[in-house]
C-alpha cells in the first residue's frame, strides 16, 4: 500500500481517561466491529486488566477509513497504561507518527499524561489533543484545554472536544487523524528494518511478534534476523489485526502487523529490537533498543497448599506471555526453596502474583519487594544484588549504589507543602516546580527508587485528596550510606525479612518492622522474642507473649463434626503461613515490613 494513505497512531491517556472507549469508537465508526459486537475495551484481552481498568499488553489494530472519497489504512497501536511499562510505551510510540493526547475534561492533565506527552514529543510524534468526557456534569473542557496548551505549547483552540461515550466529536477526530498526522516516512527499497514493539504468546503458533516495518519489506518465507539478540528465524505467517487476525503475504515500509516465525519462547523476543533480512541485513539497527530491565524484585515461595514444582510450572507458563518477568530458583533457610522474581515495577509484581493465584491456582508466600543494588567491593569488582540476603560481608564492601529515578508529580497547589514533606521523608532531592494552572503544579524530584516502590503512591494520594499523580523514569545507580538490617524471630535470623536501608533510617525502620511483626504474628504457646540487628548489634527488641487461652471448653454433645469444623476454621485463617523454626509467620508479615509508616 502507498505510504501516503497510511496513518500510524497511538492514544495517550491517563488511566480511566477513556482511552479504551475511544479506541472502541474508532473500531465502531470504521466498521471494524459492529454495534452488536461492540463491547467495552476490545483491546484489553485479559480479565485482570479489565478489572483493574488498565492495559497491560500492547496490541495493534488496522482499520479502513474513507474520507472525502479517499481510502486510508489506520493503524491504532495501543500502549500500556502504567508507569511500570515506561519503556514499552516508548517503543509503541516509536512505531507511530502521531498520537491522540486524550485528557478527561473532569480530571485535567495528570502525571502520566505529562510523561507520555513528553515521550511522544521526544519521539517526534505529532499530537492531536482531545478533551474527552465533555458530556459529564463535572466537565471543565475550557480549563482542560488551557492545561493542554501549557503542556504541549499549542493553542487551546486546537483541542477537539469529544465524548467517546456519546460519540460527540469523533468524526472531527477522525478527520484530524488523517489530515494532521503525517504519513509514515521510510524507504521501501532500503534494506529491511522493522521495529518490534510488542509480543504475545499463542499456545499453537508460539510467539506472535508485533512489528512496524520502517524500511524495506518482509514477506512470508523470508529468513530474518533480530539485530539485538542475533537470532535467525523463518517467517511463517504475516498478518494484521482487523481486529480479527487476517493473513497477508507481505508487509512493506510504513505498515504495522504481526509476524509468526515458530519462536517458542517469548523471552527470545525483546521489545525495541530491530528485525532485518538475514541475507541482506541493514547496517544499523533502529535506535533506542535495550533489554528488559527489572527494577523490582521479590521472592515467591510455595505456600502451604502448593508444591515447589507447581510454582515453577506456573511461573514458566506466565513467562510465556510476559517477557519482562524473570525468575531464578533460590533457597532460604527460613522459607525453603522458592524463586527470586524480577518485575518492571510494583504493579507488574502484583499482576504476576494475582495471575499465579487466579489462573494457576498456586498459593505463594511473597517477600517484601526490593530494588536491585550495585555493590562495589574493595577489589573494585561490581556485583548486582537484588536481595538483602545476598549482600557480601560488609568488610569487603566499598560502596553500595542504589537506583535513582526522576519523578514528576502533579498535585494541587494547596498540597505542595504536604507533598514536599512526604518527599523529604523519602530522601528525595528537589528539582523544579512548574505551574500547570493556578491550582495545579508539576513538582520534579529525584528519589531513590526503593523509597517509592511500595506505598509512596498511596501516600501521595492521601496527602493530595486523591488528586496527585506521578510518573517516574530511571536515571541510574548512585552510592549512599546503605546497610543491611537483619530481623530475628525467636532468635533465628530470617533472611526473607532482611532489608537494605539507609543508615540514618535503620533504627526507626527496625523498630517499626518489629512492631509490625508483633501485630502480624499470632501468640504462640511460647514467648517469641523479636529483634532487629545491624551486623551483631541489636538495635531493637520486642516480644510476643505466649497465648493464655485457646480451648474448646464447651461441650457440643456428640456433634464432633462441629468441633472439628471449629478447629479447621481456626486453621483456615492461617493458610498463608510459613513456619520458621517453631513460629508461624503469616504471609502478610513478609510484605508488611515495608509498610513502616503505619501509626
Amino acid at each position: 500500500m502507498d505510504q501516503k494513505y497510511i496513518r500510524n497512531f497511538s492514544i495517550i491517556a491517563h488511566i480511566d481517561h477513556g482511552k479504551s472507549t475511544l479506541a472502541d469508537r474508532v473500531l465502531l465508526l470504521t466498521g471494524a466491529i459492529s454495534t452488536r459486537d461492540f463491547r467495552d475495551q476490545v483491546l484489553d484481552s485479559m480479565d485482570l486488566e479489565r478489572e483493574r481498568g488498565i492495559t497491560i499488553k500492547a496490541s495493534a489494530v488496522s482499520v479502513d477509513y474513507e474520507l472525502d472519497g479517499v481510502k486510508y489504512l489506520l493503524n491504532l497501536i495501543d500502549t500500556p497504561g502504567h508507569v511500570d511499562f515506561h519503556y514499552e510505551v516508548s517503543r509503541a510510540l516509536k512505531a507511530c507518527e502521531g498520537a491522540l493526547l486524550v485528557v478527561d475534561a473532569g480530571q485535567g492533565v495528570e502525571a502520566q499524561t505529562v510523561a507520555n506527552a513528553h515521550l511522544a514529543k521526544a519521539n517526534g510524534l505529532t499530537l492531536v489533543p482531545i478533551v474527552n468526557k465533555i458530556d459529564l456534569p463535572a466537565a471543565r473542557p475550557e480549563d482542560t484545554a488551557m492545561e493542554i496548551e501549557k503542556l504541549i505549547h499549542r493553542p487551546a483552540e486546537d483541542c477537539i472536544f469529544a465524548s467517546a461515550k456519546t460519540g460527540q466529536g469523533i468524526q472531527e477526530m477522525m478527520r484530524a487523524i488523517v489530515e494532521q498526522l503525517p504519513p509514515p516516512a521510510g524507504d521501501p527499497t532500503a534494506p529491511t528494518r522493522a521495529l518490534i514493539f510488542d509480543s504475545t504468546y499463542d499456545d499453537y503458533r508460539g510467539v506472535i511478534v508485533y512489528i512496524r516495518v520502517v524500511d524495506g519489506k518482509i514477506s512470508v518465507g523470508d529468513k530474518i534476523r533480530t539485530m539485538g539478540t542475533g537470532d535467525v528465524y523463518n517467517v511463517g505467517e504475516l498478518g494484521k489485526f482487523r481486529p480479527a487476525a487476517t493473513h497477508v503475504s507481505v508487509l512493506t515500509a510504513g505498515e504495522v502487523g504481526y509476524l509468526v516465525a515458530n519462536i517458542r519462547s517469548i523471552a527470545a523476543v525483546h521489545v525495541g529490537d530491530t528485525i532485518t533480512h538475514a541475507a541482506a541485513p541493514a547496517t544499523e539497527a533502529l535506535a533506542g533498543y535495550r533489554p528488559p530491565q527489572q527494577m523490582v524484585f521479590c521472592d515467591f515461595y510455595p505456600g502451604p497448599e502448593t508444591q515447589f514444582p507447581e510454582l515453577r510450572d506456573a511461573l514458566s507458563k506466565l513467562q510465556l506471555n510476559d517477557a519482562a518477568l524473570t525468575f531464578v530458583p533460590i533457597s532460604s533457610e527460613a522459607l525453603g526453596f522458592g524463586f527470586r522474581c524480577g518485575f518492571l515495577g510494583m504493579l507488574h509484581m502484583e499482576i504476576v502474583q494475582e495471575r499465579l493465584e487466579r489462573e494457576h491456582g498456586v498459593d505463594v508466600v511473597q517477600t517484601a519487594p526490593t530494588v536491585p543494588y550495585q555493590v562495589q567491593l574493595r577489589d573494585q569488582s561490581v556485583h548486582e544484588v537484588d536481595s538483602a540476603g545476598d549482600l557480601p560481608d560488609p568488610s569487603h564492601i566499598e560502596e553500595i549504589r542504589e537506583p535513582v529515578v526522576r519523578v514528576d508529580l502533579i498535585v494541587p497547589s494547596d498540597a505542595i507543602g504536604a507533598v514536599m514533606q512526604l518527599a523529604e521523608d523519602r530522601r528525595a532531592t528537589y528539582k523544579s516546580t512548574e505551574y500547570l494552572s493556578a491550582d495545579r503544579v508539576i513538582l520534579a524530584y529525584t528519589f531513590p527508587l526503593a523509597e517509592i516502590i511500595y506505598d509512596f503512591y498511596d501516600k501521595l494520594k492521601s496527602c493530595t485528596r486523591g488528586y496527585g499523580t506521578m510518573d517516574y523514569e530511571l536515571l541510574g545507580f548512585f552510592p549512599d550510606d546503605l546497610v543491611k538490617l537483619d530481623i530475628l524471630v525467636n532468635s533465628q535470623r530470617v533472611d526473607a525479612l532482611a532489608v537494605i536501608c539507609h543508615r540514618t533510617k535503620a533504627d526507626a525502620r527496625g523498630r517499626k518492622i518489629i512492631g509490625r511483626l508483633r501485630k502480624e504474628i499470632d501468640r504462640h504457646l511460647f514467648e517469641i522474642p523479636l529483634q532487629a540487628a545491624i551486623g551483631g548489634k541489636i538495635i531493637a527488641r520486642e516480644s510476643i507473649k505466649p497465648m493464655r487461652t485457646n480451648v474448646l471448653a464447651k461441650c457440643y454433645g456428640g456433634d464432633v463434626t462441629r468441633k472439628r469444623k471449629l478447629l479447621e476454621k481456626q486453621k483456615a485463617g492461617k493458610r498463608r503461613m510459613k513456619m520458621v523454626g517453631n513460629v508461624e509467620i503469616p504471609q502478610k508479615a513478609f510484605m508488611a515490613i515495608l509498610e513502616v509508616d503505619d501509626d
Binding site: 504462640h524 504457646l525 487461652t549 480451648v551 464432633v560 463434626t561
Partner: protein, 417 residues
Amino acid sequence: MLRGYPKRYCSMESEPGNKKSATIFPRARALYVHVPFCRRKCSYCDFYSLAACPGQEGPYLEALAADLARHDGGLARPCRSVFVGGGTPTVLPARALGGLLALLRPYVGPATEFTVEANPGTITAALAAALVEGGVNRVSLGVQSFAADELAVLGRIHSRAQARRAFQLLRHAGVANLSIDLMYGTPGQTLESWRGSLTEATALGADHLSCYCLTLEPATPLGRDCRAGRIHEMDEALQRDCYDAAIDHAAAAGLKQYELSNFARPHRQCVHNLTYWHNEPYVGVGPGAAGYLDGRRWTNRANLEAWARALCAGHAPPARGERLTGRALMAETVMLALRLTRGLDRRAFARRFGSDVAEVFPRSIARHQAVGSLVVTPGRVRLAREYYFTSNAVLSDLVAEGAGEGQGKTTGGDTKQ
C-alpha cells in the same frame, strides 16, 4: 444410607461385645436422645430447643419411637450408656417422661449408665422418684452457677436454693451418680464467685463435675449483648485463672480431672462422653441429635416438625452427614483422644488404623513435642498439663495435617440418610 444395615453386622454381632465378630464398624453401644423442649431458652444457649407447650409430647414420642426403631439394628442391647439431653428433658410432664423412659428401657441393662440432664428448676420429689423408677442412675444437673447475679445474666430459671434442693432430692431418691455442670467466663463473674460455686458443688457431694467456659455464640442474646457492648467477654487471663482454679479445687475435693473440662470421683467418669472421646460409634435420635455409625457422622436437622413428619411418613429424618476416611478420620480420633488427660493410646490407634500416630502426623507431633505441649511416650501421646487451656493450638495443627487427604465428604445440606 443408614436404612437397612448390611446383613453381616446384624448376624455377626448378635452378641454385643463379641470380640471374634470384630468388624470395621461395630454396633453402637451408646445412645443419645435429644429432647428439644425447655421452659425458657437460656441467654447463652444455641442448642436446639423450643418452648415447651402442651400437646407436643405425644407426637414427639411417637416420632422418637420411629427414630429408635430405624436404628435398632445398629444399636447394642443393652447399651453401655444411654444419655437423655436437651433442651431440658425434665420439663416433660410426668406421663410423657415416663413414656420416654419406658421407650428407652430395652436398651438399658443392669450395667448401663443411664443419664438424664436436668434443670434444677424442674426437680421435685415426685420427678426424682419417677427418674429412678424409670431406671435412671445418673443425673447431670445443669446448675451453671450458685451466684444469683450470674444466674440472672445466664437467664437460668432456677435459684441457688433450688439447685441445692434439687441435688438433695435426687440424692434422696436414690440417684447414686450425680454430676453438676458449672460455667465460668460469665460476664461479671469474679475468681472469688467462681471459687464459691466450685465449693458449693463439691460440698454438696457431686460425683462428677463439668466446668465449661462460656462461649458467646453470635446467635444468642448474650452474643448480641456482647456485640452491642452491653456486656464484655471475660478477660482471657481471668478465664485461665478460673480454669486453673477448677482443676485445683476439684483435685482437693477428690475429683480427678480426666478430660479438659471434666472431673470425677473414682469410677464415676462419664461413660457416655468417653464414647465420644474414644471416637467410638453412637446413635443419636431426636431433632438436632448427632450420631456416628458405619463410619458416617450425621446430625439431624434441628427442626421438630420436619423430623417428626419424615419419621411418621416412614422416611429417614432430614440430616446433614459426612463420611470420614483415611487421615481425616485419624486426625479426628487424635483430636478427641487428646481431650482426655490420659491422651491417646498409641497401640489402640495402631491396631485400628495400621500405623503409628507419630508416623501419620510427624510434623505436628514433633513440633509440639519440641514446644513441650505434647508428652510422647512409647504407649501414649497426651497434652501437657500447662497446655490444656491452649489445646486448640495443638489440635488445629493435627486436624490441618490430617486434612491432606481422605477429607470428610459432606453429603449435602439436608439429604435423606
